[in-house]
């Protein structure tokens, strides 16, 4: 039964929808409500998420220490070479800087750090306070570019100037300034860029291998395991593949406009979406490379042949279990809904930090009646729906984990901090394994919510037997 509860604030009612109950018209992309304990971060967070994995660039956070220190090496983005991205650099603004302006300090910091680390480029992130004191990042960066001979790029990511999506755009704008600078002469006509994958737990390496087997050259990873030089010549690729709904779509659009590079939106999560992504690419190149479709089919067949029997084993245990998920970008949610179907599981709650109206409409289409769809949720709402729907597994990030655990519900980290590769066919198997170990552990029997329910059921059975 539907509970109307005080856990949902009046002002947030139009950000929640149930599939099947009328046309979907979710309010989204608005500022988080004061006092609502949103799970969302800020513009800076959005920029940091996108640019962070560029491993040979210096990432300098211009602001007081917090913004930099909370983002120090917390993500699972791996690099096959340099690891500059795993260090946390900050101008660590002090009171005098706030009063007199931080430009001098910023210039000195860049001077010091660029000499120390010889990066291929530097990204300078502005934070809330920099927006207020009005430092001219653009000017400082321009001078530094001249002085050091590497691109020094401002990222206009003042935290309060919108939400995470605005940060994605700021990051794309900064990266776009790199593109078009490199030599593209020896790039194959059958070539792509991988956009919007962050190489969490080495996922991009799995995906790149598929493309290599298909005979497709990957020019640049944007941004997982990313390199400045690759990005500078990525306009030479024939096609952009954009994964995830928000993060790098803006960049693809800019490239289409400026360089005419077409793009396709893809997903590497789950079986259908992974296969479909590969087929889309094969289809795109089939006139140039007649054998590519067959090669792709063979690849998919081979991978599925390995995967399916193993999946079936997990499915036996998981059949019928219920899932809630709260993700950053809603595009990921589409793939996950499908992936869970392969495990015989049903998604009953799905929320996102940054979904758009179109995203939510699509979610309403692919989910079963009664599924709760929710924009910009908070702990009380999430726990409310987890209980109402009595879910078995919750998919989210670190902030969501204790909510699940306190309710005696299994949890799968599907966020930027994950240490398990969940993309590709191999990732699907890891995913199944992780969901299995999340849902099937005997510990849930002892979690009070479940334990008490089991006791009640036992008593009811006893009573029935006595009658």
């Amino acid at each position: 039964m539907r509970t109307t509860s005080s856990t949902i604030l009046e002002e947030r009612r139009d950000q929640i929808h149930r599939t099947g109950e009328g046309a979907i018209d979710i309010a989204c992309n608005r500022e988080s409500l004061a006092g609502a304990v949103s799970q969302r971060a800020c513009v800076f967070c959005g920029s940091r998420v996108v640019l962070y994995p560029i491993a040979d660039a210096l990432h300098l956070v211009h602001g007081p220490i917090g913004c930099a220190v909370y983002t120090w090496d917390i993500r699972g983005s791996l690099s096959s070479g340099p690891e500059l991205h795993r260090l946390s650099f900050s101008t660590d603004l002090q009171e005098t800087d706030v009063i007199f302006g931080g430009e001098k300090k910023l210039a000195a910091a860049l001077d010091e750090l660029i000499d120390r680390h010889s990066p291929k480029a530097a990204f300078v992130y502005s934070t809330c306070i920099v927006g207020l004191i009005g430092d001219d990042l653009e000017a400082v960066c321009r001078k530094m570019t001249e002085k050091k001979g590497i691109p020094v790029l401002p990222v206009m990511s003042e935290g309060f100037k919108g939400n995470k999506r605005a940060g994605y755009l700021a990051a794309c704008k900064a990266m776009f300034r790199l593109i078009g600078k490199g030599d593209t002469a020896d790039i194959s006509p059958v070539s792509i860029n991988i956009l919007g994958d962050f190489n969490l737990a080495g996922e991009i390496w799995i995906i790149r291998e598929y493309f290599e087997r298909m005979g497709v050259e990957v020019v640049a990873n944007i941004t997982g395991d990313g390199r400045v030089a690759d990005i500078a010549r990525c306009h030479g690729a024939a096609l952009n593949l954009v994964q995830c709904s928000g993060a790098t779509l803006d960049l693809a659009k800019m490239m289409q406009e400026e360089f005419g590079t077409p793009f396709k939106r893809v997903s590497y999560l789950g079986i259908e979406d992974m296969a479909d992504s590969l087929y889309q690419v094969a289809d795109f190149f089939k006139d140039m490379d007649p054998g590519i479709v067959e090669r792709t089919q063979a690849l998919v067949r081979e991978e599925l042949g390995k995967l399916m029997p193993e999946l079936a084993r997990y499915r036996r245990d998981l059949e019928g279990k219920k899932v809630a998920m709260y993700v950053g970008g809603s595009f990921k949610a589409f793939s996950l809904v499908k992936a869970f179907r392969h495990l015989g599981m049903k998604v009953v709650v799905v929320g996102s930090q940054t979904g758009t109206k179109e995203d939510y409409a699509e979610l309403a289409e692919i989910t079963d009646p009664g599924t709760v769809i929710i924009d910009d949720a908070n702990p009380l709402e999430l726990s409310h729906f987890i209980k109402e729907k009595d879910v078995d597994v919750f998919v989210g990030g670190v902030k969501e984990r204790p909510i699940a655990y306190k309710l005696g519900v299994g949890f799968c980290d599907h966020n930027h901090e994950r240490k398990e590769a969940l993309e590709g066919f191999r990732g699907m198997l890891n995913f199944a394994r992780e969901i299995h170990s999340s849902a099937m552990s005997p510990v849930w029997q002892f979690a009070p919510r479940r334990a008490n329910r089991a006791n009640l059921a036992k008593e009811a059975r006893k009573e029935a037997a006595n009658e």
Partner: protein, 455 residues
């Protein structure tokens, strides 16, 4: 000869900071009060980042509200959002206290929180309002420890307003220690027959049991009524040799004449002795036998283990007072602290360390304030440490130098159970001692081609 260099002459940028920002400390302190919810007055990102960071250590839900300021608010002031946010938190969480900490943003635009509070009381005085406590926490002016101490003092000053009738209780201001440490402190007081008001008390609120339901605000924490009557206590004990002059304990002493005992964190034998002696003085009771025994066992262990660790060289880093406590402990057991660093500045770290290591340390450590891990690494290279002692963030360096890291403090992000790590008193020192000795033995085993199974 003084070896301290407080600020680097070339201080420009920070690489891998050895400190956290001010409102985080305030949020943690507010979390240790019954029915309280921390509230950051600023933009949404700060609150979310801090929640994430704190959750990774405690593995507990950590709800921190935010006034979620946007661009307009940043220009026209955050008052309306602050009030709306407080109302929303009241509606959803029904808190007994809302602890409002400012962020860099609202400090810089000069938002006048006391004035907003005044307006709020006027507008909504007819509602059943929670206690509202405010603390000013610009991060460009301090670290998370300043936020912590500031929040504690704010609570004492804004809740404890008049002289209460004598309660016979003792106030304990424990500083940022683990949940297990707080539980241990409470036990000790119990055994001395002392009723203690521990402020804040995170022992349950940040290390709660599994429950039937998701509770909006976890149970436990210092009861607000107890805070209000701290002015009637017998004495205050506050831990920290690097505390600001204006601390919670100092405020109670100044305003109500409650004797304030400022002690170092009871880590190591001598600092623990000071704590237990103080409890004997205050309670008029001799040390309970169980602590005599704990102390005796600790000395026994010191003797049994001394050879494994004598002359080992340790690098210690973290919160200023934790660093002091660790130096007190390590120098007692014959470990040479070669470098002691904190990200905070102007805390009198060198003096405090000199005091607690006097008579036992074989060398005076290099003492550094305002350091980051880049600086620590730069110096530690030459210092050739055998051991790192501090929070998780030193892991990369320990790995690079192939030396063990004994994890203490906040955050512990790469091990399980940081919130249950005991470090205080004889028992905590014992636990720490065992870990240090074992870390050295383990390293010796790992490095040995022979593989001694008996050491």
């Amino acid at each position: 000869m003084s070896k301290v260099k407080t600020a680097r002459p070339n201080f420009v940028s920070t690489t891998n900071a050895c400190k956290l920002c001010t409102p985080l400390g305030a949020s943690l302190a507010f979390r240790g009060v019954e029915g309280a919810i921390p509230f950051l007055h600023g933009s949404q990102g700060c609150a979310t980042y801090m929640r994430r960071y704190i959750i990774s250590h405690f593995r507990e839900p950590v709800d921190i509200a935010s006034s979620a300021l946007g661009e307009k608010n940043a220009i026209y002031g955050g008052g309306p959002n602050l009030k709306k946010g407080i109302l929303n938190v009241m509606k959803k969480y029904e808190p007994k206290l809302i602890g409002v900490a400012t962020t860099c943003l609202t400090e810089t635009i000069g938002d006048d929180v006391p004035m907003y509070f005044g307006e709020f009381y006027k507008e909504f005085g007819d509602l059943d309002l929670p206690e509202l406590v405010r603390v000013s926490t610009p991060s460009y002016n301090g670290t998370h420890m300043d936020g912590w101490h500031g929040a504690v003092r704010s609570m004492v000053e804004q809740l404890c307003l008049e002289k209460a009738p004598a309660t016979g209780r003792v106030n304990i201001l424990p500083s940022l220690v683990s949940c297990e440490d707080v539980r241990h402190l409470r036990d000790i007081c119990d055994h001395f027959g002392i009723e203690a008001t521990i402020l804040p008390d995170i022992s349950e609120t940040l290390d709660g049991p599994a429950l039937e339901d998701y509770v909006k605000i976890p149970e436990g924490g210092t009861p607000i009524g107890d805070i209000k009557t701290m002015s009637g206590s017998r004495a205050t004990i506050e831990f920290g040799r690097c505390l600001p002059a204006k601390s919670g304990g100092a405020s109670l002493e100044e305003r109500f004449g409650i004797p304030n005992h400022r002690l170092g964190l009871p880590m190591g034998l001598r600092e623990s002795d000071r704590f237990f002696e103080t409890l004997e003085d205050i309670s008029g009771k001799a040390m309970p036998r169980r602590y005599e025994l704990e102390r005796g066992r600790l000395v026994d262990a010191y003797v049994d283990g001394h050879k494994y660790i004598f002359g080992k060289r340790a690098v210690v880093y973290g919160e200023e007072d934790l660093v002091v406590g660790l130096c007190a402990f390590l120098s007692e057991i014959g470990v040479d602290v070669v470098l002691a660093g904190t990200g905070a500045r102007n805390k009198g770290l060198e003096k405090a360390i000199a005091k607690v290591t006097d008579g036992v340390a074989r060398i005076a450590p290099e003492v550094r304030e305002a350091v980051d891990f880049h600086d620590i690494a730069a110096e530690a290279g030459e210092l050739a440490p055998d051991l790192l002692v501090g929070h998780s963030k030193g892991y990369r360096y320990a790995k690079a130098w192939n030396v063990p890291l004994v994890r203490v403090g906040f955050p512990i992000h790469d091990r399980f159970g940081g919130q249950r790590t005991l470090t205080l008193g004889y028992k905590g020192t014992q636990a720490l001692f065992d870990r240090v000795v074992n870390a050295v033995i383990e390293k010796k085993q790992a490095d040995s081609p022979i593989g001694y199974g008996y050491i």
